[in-house]
Amino acid sequence: MTGTCFIAAGQGLCLPEKQHPLSRMSIDREADQIKRAAGGDPAAIRAIIVGNTAQLNALAYRMLRSHDDAEEVVQETFLRAWKALPRWKPNARLSTWLHRVALNLCYDRLRKRREHVMADPPDMVDETPGPQGQLERRQNIERVQLAIAQLPERQQVALSLCALEGYTNKMAAEILDISVEAVESLLSRGRRQLRQILIEQAGDLT
């Protein structure tokens, strides 16, 4: 596994290194790809879909904690992209724009959830019974997910992008359309608040 390891709280932890579409392609090459996709070129369209879907889906899932909702957000994002591509101006990277659209769709859904009593809550984790260790792991995942969900939305996004999905602060700043310093502030406040929530839940962190 590529990535880096460190020791914290007496435990070794290795984090994988992730690649993101924002860092891969030159602006010129992307502009050419967008032009071809706008003309219906199947290869260009496929490249845009394959190059962005996993990241968009991960971000949407982190925000919505529902696989179905995340999938719908990704589909809606691309539908909007196909409409927008013929009028595309290369002021921003397509990946950045796609992330922004997906995020706005996530915000809309989160707002609707708050406005309406939900008949079906988001699928937090699989509740299938299993061995004790597996059950504890699931409960732990749910505990952390619920704690993140209590953060303000912008802090959730910053944490999801930088701490969970491996985006750089610069990429997160582009997506959120704020400065790198503002991203750092969101991260700092988000981590502090998350730590507080987890401590209140469990009494202490691991």
């Binding site: 952390v144 602060n169 981590r191």
Partner: protein, 150 residues
């Protein structure tokens, strides 16, 4: 020798956690040097940030739903003739165009033969001529011949 101030490293630990991989790339080497120079000064901050990193690391990667990419491609506005207007041609998309050209040629040939053959041959000759013409294109058009013979 590092030019980073203690407060800046504390800010980095607070925002990005204890893993240098997540620290801003431009400041990473300075931050690591400062941490190595004063481990005791930052021990508490590293421990605190690392504990939260471990909590966050329990969250699994988000798997891509099976079939999502195919579904997205199926709903995309792909133009079958797009390869004619761009430089990135995909051989897979030539087939429908070649097929339609071939169908046009066959249709024209059929019309021409329809005028020519009845005047010079009996029904069997007509069938064998048409079969020969279709055979030149290496395709099986037996269903059309069956209709002609019935």
């Amino acid at each position: 020798m590092t030019f980073m101030k203690d407060d800046r490293l504390l800010e980095i630990l607070s925002a990005y956690g204890a893993s240098p991989l997540n620290w801003p790339e431009k400041e990473r080497s300075d931050a690591e040097a400062l941490l190595a120079a004063k481990p005791d000064r930052f021990a508490d901050a590293v421990r605190e940030a690392g504990a939260l990193d471990i909590e966050l690391s329990t969250l699994p990667n988000v798997d891509l739903p099976g079939g999502l990419i195919e579904s997205l491609i199926a709903s995309a506005p792909i133009r079958e003739d797009a390869f004619q207007t761009n430089s990135h041609k995909s051989s897979g998309w030539r087939l429908p165009v070649i097929g339609s050209g071939f169908a046009t040629a066959c249709f024209s040939l059929g019309i021409a033969m329809g005028y020519a053959l009845p005047a010079q041959a009996d029904r069997n000759f007509e069938s064998s001529e048409v079969a020969l013409a279709y055979a030149l294109f290496d395709n099986d058009f037996s269903s059309f011949l069956d209709e002609t013979d019935s």
